[in-house]
Symmetry: C2
Subunit: 467 residues, 2 copies
């Protein structure tokens, strides 16, 4: 039997794809920046099938590319163009295995779409807080493999912090059953941490036990207009101090980001009056009541207005108000796309370093490229900026893309000089695998290589990604 026939013996012929039209969706990333080829796409429905596939591939030295919802932004789930690899799609492994409300945990298979996990939690009167733009098609296995971030990290942490246990098919085809639902377990090395964020290079996550939380009684949103990024940091500090863990989002948008949005979506309305250089979207999740949350939010914003930290502010008075506010923040990526795209960076820094970083780096780039226009937004509460660059009115965006490498070099060097990260929430994949070597110490790269060699000595798990 050839390889596709051997795979078909495991999962059935219908779940081994080899024709160009069947395989095409699995061989390019959703932004269509990477294109690969594969010996086959295989779609297992159970952990045991994944294990048998991995054993088969390992015996024949066939590389494996695990894939979830294929919504990644760094090419981490796209095979190379050698045609040697088997893409293992986890999408058919989409069962909710168990939900335990007394333990506040849910156990799900890797192919569950994030939104399905959120829905299952909600149906049990619980919150699964991971939330991001691609939640309608991203899978939880991919979220864990890339340690996804999103809009609720400030309060609930990244995907890593939400995982209590994993089930993983290891490079040799053994199954590690680490599906524990424990908040405390100090019995040796915390192996699940190795696989979270490893982008499929150390094994295939097939299931996870995740934390659930109580649903808040109300979420109240507000938008504040600010004269500067230091004022936004000041407001963040005030909110952390005044409402503590009730602060579940603190997003910022520059005036340029907002202008980009309003040009593409002229029907959207900002609920604050005077134009200002920066805007913050804040959200409180309150376990008492909407009225209590509104009073608390108005009190903090009122004090910030009195202190001159905030120039104007609007608190959502209805769910429709709140949705309209979030639509402004969440519409920015789509508006950028419609405007022809721009040169993107997903960076994080110590929050204390952000105002100076933005001022200095904007100035350095504007001095070098008089046509450049920074479009900055992101999760200030997490120190995470989407720090992007387009062109001023009348200059084609293509000019920015021509200088993409130079712009990114300036940005990444400035990030590294301030102790930041060049990939806050998207991972390395193919996109940043080479670039990261400029910033990691030889000691750190050596540690990563030792881990990779210890778990995957034949380098068959997602080769060419991360390390």
């Amino acid at each position: 039997m050839n390889l596709p026939e051997q795979l078909a013996a495991i999962v059935g012929a219908a779940n081994v794809l080899t024709t160009p039209e069947d395989t095409a969706p699995y061989l390019t990333d959703w932004r269509r920046r990477y294109h690969g080829t594969a010996a086959a796409i295989v779609r297992p429905a159970a952990t045991d099938e994944v294990a048998r596939i991995v054993r088969l591939c390992a015996a024949s030295r066939v590389p494996i590319v695990p894939q979830g919802g294929n919504t990644g932004l760094v090419g981490g789930a796209t095979p190379d163009d050698s045609g040697a690899a088997v893409v293992v799609s986890l999408q058919r492994m989409n069962r909710i295995r168990a939900i335990d409300t007394a333990n506040d945990t849910i156990t799900v298979e890797a192919g569950c779409v994030l939104q399905a996990v959120q829905d299952a939690a909600r149906a049990a009167q619980r919150l699964f807080p991971l939330s991001l733009a691609a939640e309608g098609s991203a899978t939880i296995g991919g979220n864990l493999s890339s340690n996804a971030g999103g809009t609720q990290v400030l309060r609930y942490g990244n995907a890593r912090e939400l995982a209590l246990g994993l089930e993983v098919v290891l490079p040799g085809g053994d199954v590690w059953d680490g599906l524990r639902g424990l908040r405390k377990d100090n019995t040796g090395y915390d192996l699940k941490q190795l696989f979270i964020g490893a982008e499929g290079t150390l094994g295939i996550i097939t299931a996870a036990t995740l934390k659930l939380f109580a649903q808040p009684a109300a979420q109240i949103t507000a938008i504040a207009a600010l004269a500067s990024l230091p004022d936004a940091s000041d407001l963040l500090g005030r909110m952390r101090g005044e409402v503590g863990p009730e602060l579940t989002a603190f997003e910022v948008m520059s005036a340029n980001a907002l202008r980009c949005l309003l040009q593409q979506f002229p029907d959207k309305r900002l609920p604050v009056s005077a134009p200002q250089p920066w805007y913050a979207l804040v959200e409180l999740s309150d376990h008492e009541s909407a009225q209590h949350a509104t009073e608390r939010l108005e009190a903090v914003l009122g004090a910030a207005l009195d202190a001159g930290v905030v120039r104007d502010a609007a608190v959502a008075q209805s769910i429709a108000d709140a949705q309209a506010m979030w639509a402004i923040r969440e519409g920015i990526p789509e508006a950028q796309l419609r405007a022809g795209g721009n040169v993107k960076h997903d960076v994080s820094l110590p929050i204390s370093a952000i105002p100076e970083f933005v001022a200095a780096t904007n100035a350095a780039l504007e001095a070098r490229f008089p046509w450049i226009e920074p479009i900055t937004f992101g999760h200030l509460g997490d120190g995470n900026l989407h720090y992007n660059f387009g062109t001023k009115a009348g200059i084609p965006v293509a000019v920015a893309f021509e200088h993409q490498h130079e712009i990114s070099t300036v940005v990444h060097d400035a990030v590294a000089a301030r102790g930041g990260s060049i990939s806050a929430e998207h991972g390395l994949g193919q996109l940043k695998r080479d670039e990261i070597r400029r910033f990691k110490s030889p000691i750190e790269l050596d540690l990563m290589r030792r881990i990779k060699a210890a778990l995957d000595p034949d380098n068959l798990m997602n080769p060419g990604k991360v390390i």
Copy 2:
């Protein structure tokens, strides 16, 4: 030069201890259950000195035992009796290197006593939430190496969740500088996770960047009397639902645990009336006001009283009240010691499994050992019980110790059968290194051995511990 002279060339002769009286405190654990010998105790004052010590030891194949405040409970910091090892005490590395209130981070050296870290945070109007009985002498390096838990895990997580970055001297003597203060950083394997909870077997943590939090405006404590452990679980569920992240402690004590306390400390008074089989101590941390927290806590407890879930409850009306309540909970370990000790277990389970686990395991042990008396208390909110066994009135405690192995075997088997852990917050060290092999799968033990071999191929870092 012999080894002590070579060490003295690095740290000065005053910081190399070799006489029996100088070395004695470093060669036994504080419960005095383990005793070892060592070639020397060395007390470096800087990371570079630690690196030079490790290089020296590696070149001569001398085993290294890292030690912080020497408050561990599993013999993890005590050398074996071969006399071959060098104990590296981190206690002189006790500087607060930096505090960044805008980023809510603090960077400290490993030898900082936990209380000193808490104090430095408080002086900057911030909270470092890790809190445990030994905080006056335990060091943060030891806390991280053992992934310490304590009384605030419910809201803030274990030591692992509080660390953003580490500096580690690796087994070869290289220094890995991973001191990042970032909430999001997805640039490869999260190496710090390897060293946290590894009990010094993969390297020596020399410094850490830790998360800080806003100080709450008020902490309000209450004690509730309950008819059963299922009722305690019910109350926990109500509190999580009603107050969400404001719930910072949910501790339980059995009537036997309370009786043990009151026998040893007859001046203590329980603020609730009728004797009941179980008691819960709950704490709310509120960012609004003491009045608000008290009202919220009274509302939840009032509803639980009306529903028959709680039999009686008292909310602290003053800081003195709250301290008296915590003194009851925190006095139990000392009371047990004064009563002659007992057979101890530090276990965790899914919270949903705890009532049935306690009922079934108590029954099994009472059937086998008619003289046995369970003394149960712990962190129900984290699924973590200190599940201990003494003897009934009139039976010497020695009888329990004679059956220690049989009792622990029953307990650990029952824990494992329900997906629990035999070491929730104390680690493995020497105490549970062999016992854990009964419960970890060969696949998991093999993964742990691969990690150990990849980082410490000569097995010089804290040999004989964990793995």
